[in-house]
Amino acid sequence: MASFAAIVELIYRQVENRALYPTEEALLNGVNPAMRLLCLMDHMLHTERVAVSLAARRLTVDLRQVAARSHRVLRVLLGDATADTPALTLGQFAPLLPITRERLACLYPDWLRTVGVPSRWFLLGRHFVCVWPRPMAPVTLTLVCATVPPAAALATLASSPALDESQHAVIADLATPLLLYKEGAGEADRAVQQLRMRLGAEPFTEAAKRLRSRALPV
């Protein structure tokens, strides 16, 4: 397992002047966004199961409080499924079905009034998970979320990323252009080429065109 320090060392091998990128910056603007980018590209790279309690008649779970590193809710279950043996809640253990608030309002305009055993879940923006009907008694829900790994810091330099070891070299490859571009002109162009190669054409093709157009003599 490569530590964060080893990944930073891999980055330093890809840049010409390592003095321009202090370790703190290599972590803050290199390794951390690179890990997040990787997880956004593949939702299954890092997932979490979180058990949350919802009081009676409450509607919402605030993801910022229970899963601050989540970026996508994959499943919601009635009951606690964080251990190998699930625990029932209200005598039941069942997955809730996803729905949108708009569709729920079409089917049941008075959806807010309904109280019972939750059977559906929907998102309110990107911060709130809601269940319908509102629970008649306190319930335990399990949220299965696609998340990003804990960010690296100078204090955790010796620890390893919470991503599979096979991804560690990719983190360094992605982090390098994320650091390089700040130099402007030539380095920015190099960063865009690397990002295009590693992440795909969009939207870096447009950035490459803009950089090239500015390089033309006036």
Binding site: E24, E25, L28, N29, P33, R36, L37, L40, M41, A55, R57, R58, L59, T60, D62, L63, R64, A68, R69, S70, H71, R101, A105, P109, D110, W111, L112, R113, L124, G125, R126, H127, F128, R134, V148, A151, L178, Y181, K182, G184, A185, A188, D189, A191, V192, L195, L199, E202, P203, F204, E206, A207, R210, L211, R214
Partner: protein
């Protein structure tokens, strides 16, 4: 949860602005951060619930005037626990020419010809005043929805822009916000303009937004 000061430090690293004499003041960076967060909020990325006390015979409610909130749009309005239907004033005119005179209790809501898109008109206005209870914007439903209004609103969750304040967004939103801020500052006219840096930061912000399922 990181603070706005942490986000400003990240931005300064990307702008190579960590010398004793700084090119951008903290206030300039926080203002650009605020603009970047607001740009995402305008896409209705973040939503919430808001409780409002209904007043008898009052049709117009200024949702954006609620303390502790930065509302950017209204998604739905519920009265007495049921969703009201949205209608434009033209539709209401066609339905009942003198609709402003009606007093039968709320059925519709509109933002047409109000002061702003965050001021709503309930039609017909409520017949009774709902009970006044404390407001908890994040989760108002344990409060009485009977004879009151509950709104689904699009909001900017970063109510306070202060370096000591936490960034009140999910961690993944920090990246598009930082890149957008770097693009704004580096792209601005002036001595420290860096168009290449701005172009790449803009592309990175766009890429993060796309991966987060937002329109670019």
């Amino acid at each position: 949860m990181s603070t706005l000061a942490d986000v400003v430090t990240r931005t300064r690293h990307a702008l190579q602005d960590l010398d004793a004499v700084q090119a951008w003041q903290d206030a300039q960076i926080t203002a650009a951060l605020d603009a970047s967060i607001m740009a995402l909020a305008r896409q209705h990325v973040w939503q919430g619930l808001l409780w409002l006390q209904a007043q008898a015979n009052v049709a117009t409610y200024a949702v954006n005037a609620q303390p502790g909130t930065r509302i950017v749009g209204i998604k739905a309005v519920l009265y007495n626990g049921s969703e009201l239907r949205y209608a434009s004033e033209a539709q209401l005119d066609r339905l009942t020419p003198s609709w402003e005179m009606q007093r039968t209790g709320p059925k519709w809501w509109t933002t047409d010809n109000t002061e702003s898109p965050t001021v709503i008109r309930i039609h017909p206005p409520p017949l009774v005043t709902g009970s006044a209870v404390p407001i908890f914007p994040a989760d108002p439903l344990p409060q009485r929805w009977q004879d009151n209004l509950v709104l689904v609103v699009a909001e900017n969750p970063q109510v306070t822009i202060d370096l000591a304040e936490p960034l009140t967004l999910l961690e993944v939103f920090a990246d598009p916000v930082v890149y957008e801020t770097v693009a704004r500052l580096a792209g601005g006219e002036g001595e420290f303009q860096a168009l290449a840096v701005s172009a790449v930061a803009q592309a990175l912000a766009q890429f993060f937004r796309q991966r987060l399922g937002m329109s670019s």
